[in-house]
Each structure stands twice: as structure tokens, then as C-alpha cells.
């Protein structure tokens, strides 16, 4: 399916379309975009190989001149011709090589570009599901691999094909009967290479795998060395490593052994001898002269190189195909949610309702099981539960990061699926657990959602978020750059910057994953102030560990294994929920009587 057939949240006007039917076709479609270079590469290498092969014929003629000396002119002429032809070979190779480099790098640039546009067009659903590391690997490593597949991959391929074809054609021009041995050799060669690869590829794969296993085990033992030592398990860890290392050694040796037995070289040696025999036969028949024999032996000698190079080219091409496949798969992943431009729009009041909502990322595994609750506009909702209980998933259903499997999610009484996506999302802000900040200035990060915000507005938002003080504490203040080359921020500071960013956007619904640790009470005071500000005048869904936030929320939702096991205010839950009581049991308050109607 081509890019333009997918539903997409982002489009670029002049984006090129490529044929995505299969990895090979896709790569060819990209290459075709720059067919000029494909053409010049082919021409360049053709010239190179033809020149080199023709030189063998000329060398044969020169031998003739030695045996039957003629004029000095003839000597000069043949020497100049041979030199000229070999220089032509160099020029042709240069043309071929430059063209291939250009093609390879353009392919890399274009495919990365295509991938990026495709990624931008994917829904939030898609991005939340991907591990950033995986996407990165596609965008950097796999795309780079495509480059290598062209250069030197295609070059090797040219070498292999032209390296066989051109000399053989020249052999034919000397005498077509001589094609017998080369063709037989080619046949045998193809069979041998096929068999060789069938034996070698699995070993290489296994070896690479085993190296990864050995490395991972080693990394684990060393990272956990404290535990290893307190458990006095050094000998055990060494034993584990030794097993892995031995297995790797065995595969390493096996690979070397298979590579040692690369039969095509043997076949080549024998073919060479047979070629001599055949040319002698023609010589004895008077069909071939000595110059011809010398030319033939020279041409046969050229074949040694493609036999050598085929060792590398096939694996490169294979890796390229695998990379292309992975990139294509990423691009083909469907974006589930549509923009619904014709849907309901308007200012959100902030009332949220969940009606018998069930949801799972996959069909087998349901995360949210039949949850129902109601939130009034302006309420602060604290969501409490263990990891994996479904807290984050719950919040992701509000902004249509995912669509429910069963039931409905309503915002202001309207099913979120009927809202215009843009209108809905523009009024919802999310603060993630890992706050992502760009490598740009503090001011730019705060104003990210509202690019034309003035300095006053930015500072106001920062003050509300209790971030203004520490920002002005930096040497460059609001212009300080964040990131590797700039200031490093603590978790609490990042959280407050994210709050400032959210304030500027002034959302009607704020979804916040508050998981920064409380290190010192002073910072804690600041964060509490900021969060109180954030809760004013909007509906807040808060995933938090802070008891202070839970205690005072308007609604507390306790989630266990995807089910809503308790909802209500603090005082109510202390009386009715076993789960909830356990949290506060450690504090020396006298808990109220547990009522029967609980869990």
C-alpha cells in the first residue's frame, strides 16, 4: 500500500511517493528516482571492465609483435594503446564509483525522509506503542545499512556480474568455441556458491546471536557484581560465562572452517588448467595463434576477482534487504485514528464519563475491565494503582490515544469518537512520566505549544509552575539551553517546566503522570504549590504516588488489575476500601471502622 492510501495525520505537499510493495521493489523505486546515476554507474563500470578486458587482447597482440618484430612505430603504438586503455579503465571505475556513492547517499537521505514523514503521519496510538529505541534503530542503523547495500553492495554486484560477463564476451570475440569452459565453470560456480551460503549463513547468524548472548550475560554479571559478591556467587557467574564463551568459540571456529573450504577457488584453478588445454587444442588446429592464447589466459585470469568478491556481496545484499523490510514494516503500520474533521467541536467544560469501558492493546489481554465513573468539570481525580493495573491506559482513552473496545468515553456528554480530533486534543494537555524537552532554550520549551507567546506570558506560566525562581537562577535565565550542551535539570525541575508548558497551552483537561520522587521538603513545597495551581479551573486526571495529592483529590479511583475497586473521597474510602486503608495504615491515625460494604 503506498503512502498516499493510508490515513494520515500529517502530510507534506511535495512528498515523493515510492512503491512499497516489497523491500526489493521499494529500493529499486528509490534508485529509479535517481536513474541518471544508476545509468552512469553502469556505464562507468562497463567502460572499466571492457577496457581492462580489451587490454588483455592488446597484450596478446603485443606478444605477437615480440615474436614477429615489425616497425618501432608498432611498438610505440601498442604500448600507448595499452596504457591508454588501462587509464580509461581507471576513469571508468572512477565514474562508476562516484555515481554509486551519490546514488547510495541519496537513497539513504530519501528513505530516511520518507520514513520520517510516515512517522509524523502516524497516530499517537502508534507512537505510544513503539519503543523509541526501535524507531531510532530504523531511522539510523537500518537506513545506514541501505547506504552500504548500494555502496559497496551494488558495486560488488556489478563486479560480480560484469566481472564475469565482460571477459566472457571478449573471450567469445576471440573464438566462440572457447566459451565452453567458462560456461561450465559458471554453472559449477553458481551451484557451489549456493551450497556454500546455505551452509554459512545460519552459522553466521547463530554466531552473531551467540555473541549477543555472551555479551548480555557478561553485562549482567558485571552490572550486578555487588549482588554477585554478597551472594558469593563469583564462581557460578564465571561458569555461566565460560559456557557462553565456549559456545561462541565453537561457532567462530565452525565459520572459519566453512570459509576455509570455499570451493569456487578450487573450481577456478581447475577451470584455468582446462582453459589452457582448450586453447592449446585450438592452437594446434591453427585456429588460434599465440597472441590469442595469451589473450585468453589473461582474460581467464580476470575471472579470479569476481570469484573472490562474491564472498562479500551476497551477505551485504541480504542485510540490506532485511533492513529495507524492517523500514517498510514500520511505514506500513496503519494509523488507527482518523482526524474526523467533521466532528463535534467547541470549548470543553471538563466533565468526563466512563461508561462500562473495556480495553486491551491486544485481543488476548484486556487491561481495562468494565470501568465506569463520572467526573465533574473542574474535579481533580487521583488514580491509584500498582504498575500494570491500567492507570496510564485509562488516561490514554480520554484523548483518543486509543479507542475503547467496549463501552464509551464521554467528554461533556459527547462520545470522544464524535469529537473533531483536533478540537478535542488541542484542549487536553499531557504531562508524561519522562518529560521530553527539546535541546533549545527554556523559553522555547515552555512556549512549545504556543509559538507566538510573548516573554510575559512565558514568565507568568513559569511563575505559576513555581519554575521562575530556578530558571532565573541559571546563568542565561530563560535563554539557557537545555540538553547535553546546556543545563541539566533535576526530575522536579523538568516536571515544573512541563507544567509551565501546559499552563501556557491552558488546557481544559490536564492529564498528569506525577512520578517524580520527593527528595527534600523545600522542593516538595514548590511542587505542591505548582500542582495546586494546575488544578484550579480545570479537570485534572492525576496518576500520582503523593499521598498529599491523593488525600485531597475530589475523586479517588483505586485500580487493581484493570478493575475499579474503589472510588470516592478519602474519608469514604477509609471506611469502605480494604485496599485504600492499607496505604494509610502505617500512619498512627486511628482508622475509622471498616464497613461491610467494601471489598
Amino acid at each position: 500500500m503506498a503512502v498516499n492510501q493510508q490515513r494520515s495525520e500529517f502530510r507534506v505537499a511535495d512528498a515523493k511517493q515510492y512503491n512499497q510493495r516489497s523491500p526489493l521493489i521499494w529500493m529499486l523505486s528509490h534508485a529509479w528516482e535517481h536513474k541518471l546515476f544508476l545509468f552512469t554507474a553502469l556505464v562507468g563500470y562497463l567502460i572499466g571492465y571492457s577496457a581492462f578486458s580489451y587490454a588483455r587482447i592488446l597484450i596478446g597482440e603485443a606478444a605477437d609483435i615480440i615474436l614477429n618484430p615489425t616497425t618501432q612505430d608498432a611498438v610505440i603504438r601498442i604500448s600507448v594503446m595499452i596504457t591508454g586503455v588501462l587509464v580509461l579503465d581507471g576513469i571508468g571505475s572512477l565514474l562508476g564509483s562516484m555515481s554509486t556513492e551519490t546514488l547510495a547517499n541519496r537513497l539513504e537521505r530519501d528513505s530516511r525522509h520518507e520514513l520520517y514523514i510516515s512517522l509524523l503521519g502516524k497516530s499517537q496510538t502508534f507512537h505510544d506503542q513503539q519503543r523509541v529505541g526501535d524507531i531510532m534503530a530504523r531511522a539510523t542503523d537500518d537506513v545506514r545499512q541501505l547506504n552500504f547495500t548500494i555502496s559497496p553492495g551494488i558495486i560488488f554486484l556489478f563486479d560480480m556480474v560484469l566481472g564475469f560477463a565482460v571477459p566472457i564476451i571478449f573471450i567469445a570475440t576471440v573464438n566462440w568455441q572457447l566459451l565452453l569452459v567458462p560456461f561450465l565453470f559458471l554453472l559449477v560456480y553458481i551451484l557451489m556458491v549456493r551450497e556454500y551460503n546455505t551452509r554459512l549463513s545460519p552459522v553466521i547468524d547463530e554466531q552473531r546471536n551467540q555473541y549477543g548472548v555472551m555479551n548480555a550475560g557478561l553485562e549482567e554479571s558485571i552490572s550486578g557484581i555487588e549482588i554477585v559478591k554478597v551472594a558469593a556467587q563469583e564462581a557460578f557467574e564465571r561458569f555461566k560465562f565460560g559456557k557462553n564463551a565456549k559456545k561462541y568459540r565453537d561457532l567462530f571456529v565452525k565459520q572459519g572452517q566453512i570459509e576455509a573450504g570455499y570451493l569456487p577457488f578450487l573450481a577456478y584453478g581447475i577451470a584455468f588448467g582446462l582453459m589452457f588445454l582448450h586453447s592449446y587444442y585450438l592452437y594446434s588446429q591453427g585456429i588460434l595463434d599465440l597472441a590469442g592464447v595469451i589473450a585468453i589466459m589473461g582474460l581467464m585470469g580476470i575471472l579470479r576477482f569476481p570469484v573472490f568478491i562474491s564472498l562479500f556481496s551476497l551477505s551485504l545484499l541480504q542485510m540490506g534487504r532485511a533492513s529495507a523490510g524492517r523500514i517498510l514494516k514500520l511505514m506500513e503500520d496503519e494509523s488507527d485514528i482518523d482526524e474526523n474533521t467533521a466532528g463535534h467541536s467547541g470549548t470543553i467544560e471538563g466533565a468526563i464519563t466512563f461508561e462500562n469501558v473495556s480495553f486491551g492493546y491486544t485481543d488476548e489481554h484486556t487491561i481495562i475491565k468494565n470501568i465506569s465513573f463520572e467526573v465533574k468539570s473542574g474535579d481533580t481525580v487521583a488514580i491509584v494503582g500498582q504498575t500494570g493495573s491500567g492507570k496510564s491506559t485509562l488516561t490514554q482513552l480520554v484523548g483518543r490515544t486509543y479507542d475503547v473496545d467496549e463501552g464509551r468515553v464521554l467528554v461533556d456528554g459527547v462520545d470522544v469518537r464524535e469529537w473533531q480530533l483536533d478540537s478535542l486534543r488541542s484542549q487536553i494537555a499531557k504531562i508524561e512520566q519522562d518529560v521530553f524537552l527539546f535541546s533549545r532554550s527554556v523559553a522555547e520549551n515552555i512556549a512549545f505549544g504556543v509559538p507566538d507567546a510573548g516573554q510575559e506570558a512565558i514568565e507568568h506560566a513559569a511563575k505559576e509552575a513555581q519554575a521562575h525562581d530556578f530558571i532565573t537562577g541559571f546563568q542565561d535565565g530563560y535563554d539557557s539551553e537545555i540538553g547535553e550542551r546546556g543545563v541539566t535539570l533535576s526530575g522536579g525541575q523538568r516536571q515544573r517546566l512541563a507544567l509551565a508548558r501546559a499552563f501556557l497551552k491552558n488546557p481544559r483537561i490536564l492529564i498528569m503522570d506525577d512520578s517524580t520522587s520527593a527528595i527534600d521538603s523545600a522542593t516538595e513545597d514548590e511542587i505542591q504549590k505548582a500542582m495546586r495551581r494546575a488544578q484550579e479551573g480545570r479537570t485534572v486526571l492525576l496518576i500520582t504516588h503523593r499521598l498529599s495529592q491523593i488525600r485531597w483529590a475530589d475523586v479517588i479511583l483505586v485500580i487493581d488489575h484493570g478493575e475499579l475497586v474503589a472510588q470516592g473521597k478519602h474519608e469514604d474510602l477509609l471506611r469502605t476500601s480494604q485496599h485504600y486503608r492499607r496505604i494509610f495504615a502505617r500512619y498512627e491515625t486511628d482508622l475509622p471502622e471498616l464497613e461491610a460494604a467494601g471489598d
Binding site: A63, V87, Y116, S223, A245, G261, G269, A518, R532
Partner: protein, 603 residues
């Protein structure tokens, strides 16, 4: 492989071991392989001999064919040529087969030795070498080092062919051989120039590509945020700029690398032209036969490529030696924690005493200075203080991860230096700030080190932590796979597993470095219940960050720059209104119920 562009990174290595030392050492590792290596060397020489013999034989038969056709036997010629080629293949086979085995064995030995050394080192070693570096030294540097021998053999074999061929050619015609040799300085010079240019290009390109890559990574990982704020266009524009920049840089590098072979081919071509010119002239004076002339042409073909290997050899060799040095640095590292005896203590009561202990990690920066403290058997002791006050150091000395420089530490009255470390450590349980779990099931992790115990026993023990509810909360119960470093579990769940592991170990001394990371309140309740269980009946030293911990401790020690400022119970110290009260206000106040209740009352 000896490829012309290999080993460009060899510049700027500070080395402590000399080349000679390293070479001698690598040779000593190959001693057990000496039979194989000698066979390999023999095979190399014979292979080179055959490879040289082939073109010579061809030229011989060409001459025979032309000069005395009646004595010429085509079958014989064919047979000889095919035979020589086959022998060459056989010798190459032997060489590759045996050298793969030798290199594989030597690498394995090096790896095992490195691993042995590494696991025996104490924690000061691990401060010096981050785990990533250690891992790469054991896995890849060992490989690189063993490859030095393969590299040397390769080069030797290639040069041998050249030497044999040139030697033979000298006997045929001196002048023409000189013409052939005249090309070598051009080839080598060009190759080296390329390396200089390439090195600069590669360094620049690598630096810029690192920046470009990190920009690409940022714009890829920022897509989520960009979508939230509907700013896809902005991030797209940024990306386009960066992507195009990457293209120009890579293209330049590509052109540089792509022009090497064509240029070298051209030089070789000019050389061939020269041979043709001179050769024809000499041959016309009847000193050279057609076959011999042809041999020179072939020689030119075989000659120039090995020369390019020379230019890359030295750098590759240096890289290999540098790798070896990194490996030996691991193996040769001096152990710092040294025991003078190996007394076994049997059942430890758990009384620990520090007597005038001096300790530093780095010379000149004392952490503990004349430190004295007695911890009673079964006591729960909480350590509090600012960062760098010495809290963690005390625990590290008790586990004997570091060596202290002065004073004495006694366990049950016995000097800690006299104990058998392995048996002592089984009686000390540790839970670190970020608990480390091994890839495997929760059951495996709880059991770690106690392989004689049955599954039922392990599960029974695990249930004692917080009533065992935590096991039900796991996706697969006790069989849940925790993943690499336990990443499938939350921080809180990891702590619970670590507590269960300690319970399984049943140590006399328990050390806990409380996590500061935030854990959800339900799990937190379980952890605290679990802690209650563990703290009972054993000596426990806790670097405290939880309010409940310090409130329930038998004794609290307030540390500052390695000295004890105050000690006592929580209530007594609060009443004092001194250092402890300050610390409480800074680090613990927000955990109290008063604070929680107070938040709602504010503004």
C-alpha cells in the same frame, strides 16, 4: 583483512606497556597452539610458493608451446597447472582451518582469564572501570588482540608472494624487474596520502555525524510531544535541514573513499604500460621470451595490491596491541581488599564495631576520620545525613567491598580482615538503592545463591514479605519473567523481590540503602510491611530515607563529614532541636501525616 583503509583510528593512544611486552605476552598465549601455528606458517609458505609458481608455470608452458611445439604435451601442461592451483587451494584450506581454531582458542583463554580477574576484584575497581567498558574489554578487545596474529600472518603471506615473485623475476631480467619495482613507491605513497586525507575526513565526518545523529534521534523521540502540541510542521522542518546536512557530509566522505581504488588502478595501469614498452624493447633484443614477458605483466597484476596492505598494517597492528593492553590492564589490576586469614565464623550474632577507622576512596579526601561506633547484635540502626556524610561508606566497609586505611573493624569481636570473605558474605544481606535482578523468573531471583532449596520453600519465604499479596500482583505470579535487569517489573516490585531474596538468605547482618525513587502507595505499603519482617531479629543498618524507618529504628545516628553528630531515638532527637531536627525538616517533613493533612488546608 589488511584493507587499505583499515585502522584509521590508531592515532593518539597513550600506552603503558611497550610493543615488545605486548607481543611477547600474546605469543605466550599462543604457546599451547604452537603445533597448529607452525603448521599454519608452513601452509602459508607453501601457499605463497604455489601462488607464485602458477604464473611462472604458465609462462614456461607458453614458451614451450611457441618454441618447441613437438615436445609440448597439452595434457601434461593442463595437469600441472590444475595441480598447482589445487595445491594452492589445499594449503589455503589448511591455513584457514587451523588459524581459525588457534585464534578461537586463544580468544577463549583470554576471555576466561579476564573474567576471572574481573570477578575477583573489589568495588574500588568497579569505580574505576564502568561496567560498559569492562564488558567491551572482555568481549571485543580480546577478539581484536587475537586477530593481531591473524593479521600478521596475512601480511606475511602476501609479502612472501611478492618477494618470491620478484626474486624469480630478477633471475629472468634485471632491468624489467627494476621497472616493476619502480612503481612501488608510487603505490605506497598514494596509499599513505589517501590514509592521511581519509583520516581527517573520517574524523570530521564522525564528529558531525554524531551531532546529526543526535538531532535525528531527538526529532524522532520528540514526535510524540510534537503531536501532542500539534507542531508536526516545525519538527519536520528541523529534521529536513539536519537530514540534508548529513547527506552532504556523507557524500564527501564517500567520494574520498570511492576514489582510492580507481586511482590506484590507474597507477597500476601506467605501470603496466611501462612494462609493456620496456618489455617489448628488451624482448626485441632477444633477451626475453614471450612467456617471460607475459609473466612480468601478470606480476604487475599480483604485485600492487599487497603493497597497499603495508600502509594499513602498522596502524591495525597498533590498534590490536592497544586492545591487548586494555585487556591486560584488567587482568593485572592489583586487588586492594586483602584478607590475611580465612577464619570461619559459624553463626554470627551480628555485633559490629568500628574502632578509630580512617577511610577514603581517593587519597586526600577523607570520608571517615577516626570513626568509632559499636552496633549491637540485633539492633536496627538508621543512618541519616547529607550526601557525602559517610552513610553509604559505612555499609560498604561492613560488606568489605572497600579497604579502609586505618583502625579496626570487628565482627563478633573478630578482625574483619581475618575472615574468610566468601563465608562471611553469605551472612550479610544487602538491598541497594536500585535493586538489581537477573534475567529469569521471580522465583530464580529470590532463590539466587541457594540452589539446594526446593521451589516450595522459596515460595513460602517469598510469601512472608507483606503477606505475599505482592506475588499475586505480578503478571505471572512467582514465575513472572523479570527481563533484563528486571525491567519488566516496576521499581517497587523490584524492591519486594530483593527483600524476598534477603529473607531467603537469612543473614545475620542486613544492610539497606533505601530508595529515594517514588513508588506507588499500594506497593509502598507492602514494602514497609516486608521491611518489618526482615528487620526483626537481625542486626540491621539502614541508610534511611523513609520517615517510618527512622521512627521505628532502635537508634538513629546523624552523620556529617564522617563524624557522628547526634545519636538517639527519633523523639529524643526531635526534642533536642539540633542537627537531627534540621535534617528532619529538610528531608522527612513532607512524609509526615501532618504535612499530608496540611496540604489541603493551605490557601
Amino acid at each position: 583483512m589488511g584493507f587499505i583503509m583499515d585502522g584509521l583510528d590508531a592515532e593518539g593512544y597513550d600506552r603503558e606497556y611497550s610493543d615488545g611486552e605486548l607481543v611477547r605476552r600474546i605469543i605466550s598465549y599462543f604457546k599451547p597452539e604452537r603445533l597448529r601455528i607452525s603448521l599454519v606458517s608452513l601452509a602459508v609458505v607453501l601457499n605463497a610458493g604455489m601462488d607464485t609458481a602458477l604464473p611462472i608455470a604458465i609462462s614456461y608452458y607458453l614458451d614451450r608451446l611457441q618454441q618447441s611445439p613437438e615436445t609440448f604435451s597439452a595434457v601434461q601442461a593442463t595437469f600441472v597447472l590444475a595441480f598447482i592451483a589445487s595445491l594452492s587451494w589445499v594449503f589455503n584450506f589448511v591455513r584457514q582451518w587451523l588459524s581459525a581454531t588457534s585464534v578461537g582458542n586463544v580468544t577463549l583463554t583470554l576471555r576466561e582469564e579476564a573474567m576471572n580477574a574481573v570477578t575477583e576484584r573489589d568495588m574500588s575497581f568497579y569505580d574505576k572501570y564502568p561496567s560498559g567498558k569492562v564488558v567491551s574489554r572482555v568481549s571485543s578487545d580480546t577478539q581484536a588482540f587475537s586477530e593481531v596474529v591473524r593479521l600478521a600472518i596475512n601480511l606475511f603471506s602476501q609479502l612472501l608472494i611478492v618477494v618470491l615473485l620478484v626474486a624469480y623475476l630478477f633471475t629472468v631480467n634485471v632491468q624489467l624487474t627494476f621497472v616493476l619495482l619502480a612503481i612501488s613507491p608510487f603505490i605506497i605513497f598514494t596509499a599513505m596520502q589517501f590514509r592521511t586525507i581519509a583520516r581527517k575526513t573520517v574524523t570530521n565526518s564522525r564528529r558531525i555525524m554524531a551531532t546529526v545523529n543526535s538531532h535525528v534521534q531527538e526529532s524522532v523521540s520528540g514526535i510524540g510531544v510534537a503531536k501532542t502540541f500539534r507542531r508536526e510542521q516545525m519538527i519536520y522542518d528541523e529534521f529536513k535541514e539536519v537530514n540534508n546536512k548529513a547527506y552532504s557530509i556523507n557524500l564527501l566522505t564517500g567520494y574520498t573513499f570511492g576514489s582510492i581504488f580507481p586511482i590506484l588502478i590507474t597507477i597500476a595501469g601506467l605501470g603496466t604500460g611501462a612494462i609493456v614498452w620496456f618489455g617489448v624493447n628488451i624482448a626485441q633484443d632477444s633477451i626475453l621470451t614471450a612467456g617471460e614477458w607475459f609473466l612480468f605483466i601478470q606480476g604487475m597484476q599480483m604485485f600492487w595490491f599487497p603493497l597497499t596492505s603495508i600502509s594499513s598494517f602498522w596502524s591495525q597492528f597498533q590498534l590490536g596491541l592497544a586492545a591487548g593492553e586494555r585487556v591486560f590492564a584488567l587482568i593485572d589490576a592489583e586487588p586492594v581488599v586483602i584478607q590475611v586469614d580465612d577464619k570461619q565464623l559459624g553463626d554470627i550474632r551480628g555485633e559490629i564495631s568500628f574502632e578509630n577507622v580512617n577511610f577514603h576512596y581517593v587519597e586526600g579526601e577523607p570520608v571517615l576520620d577516626d570513626f568509632t561506633l559499636t552496633i549491637n547484635a540485633g539492633e536496627t540502626l538508621a543512618l541519616v545525613g547529607h550526601t557525602g556524610s559517610g552513610k553509604s561508606s559505612i555499609t560498604k566497609l561492613i560488606t568489605r567491598f572497600y579497604e579502609f586505611q586505618g583502625g579496626t573493624i570487628r565482627i563478633d569481636g573478630v578482625d574483619i580482615r581475618e575472615l574468610d570473605l566468601h563465608s562471611y558474605r553469605t551472612k550479610v544481606g544487602v538491598v541497594t538503592q536500585t535493586p538489581f535482578l537477573f534475567d529469569g523468573s521471580v522465583l530464580d531471583n529470590v532463590r539466587y545463591g541457594k540452589y539446594d532449596e526446593s521451589d516450595e520453600t522459596v515460595i513460602e519465604v517469598a510469601k512472608q514479605v507483606g503477606g505475599g499479596d505482592w506475588i499475586d500482583y505480578l503478571s505471572d505470579g512467582i514465575s513472572t519473567e523479570v527481563g533484563e535487569r528486571g525491567n519488566n517489573l516496576s521499581m517497587g516490585q523490584k524492591q519486594l523481590v530483593a527483600l524476598a531474596r534477603v529473607l531467603m538468605q537469612d543473614p545475620a547482618i542486613f544492610i539497606l540503602d533505601e530508595a529515594t525513587a517514588s513508588v506507588d502507595p499500594l506497593t509502598e505499603a507492602l514494602i514497609q510491611e516486608g521491611l518489618d519482617t526482615i528487620l526483626q531479629g537481625r542486626t540491621s543498618i539502614v541508610v534511611a530515607h523513609r520517615l517510618s524507618t527512622i521512627k521505628n529504628a532502635d537508634r538513629i545516628i546523624v552523620l556529617d563529614h564522617g563524624r557522628i553528630l547526634e545519636e538517639g531515638s527519633h523523639d529524643a532527637l526531635i526534642a533536642k532541636g539540633g542537627h537531627y531536627a534540621d535534617l528532619y525538616n529538610t528531608y522527612f517533613r513532607h512524609q509526615s501525616l501532618d504535612y499530608i493533612e496540611g496540604v489541603g488546608a493551605a490557601d
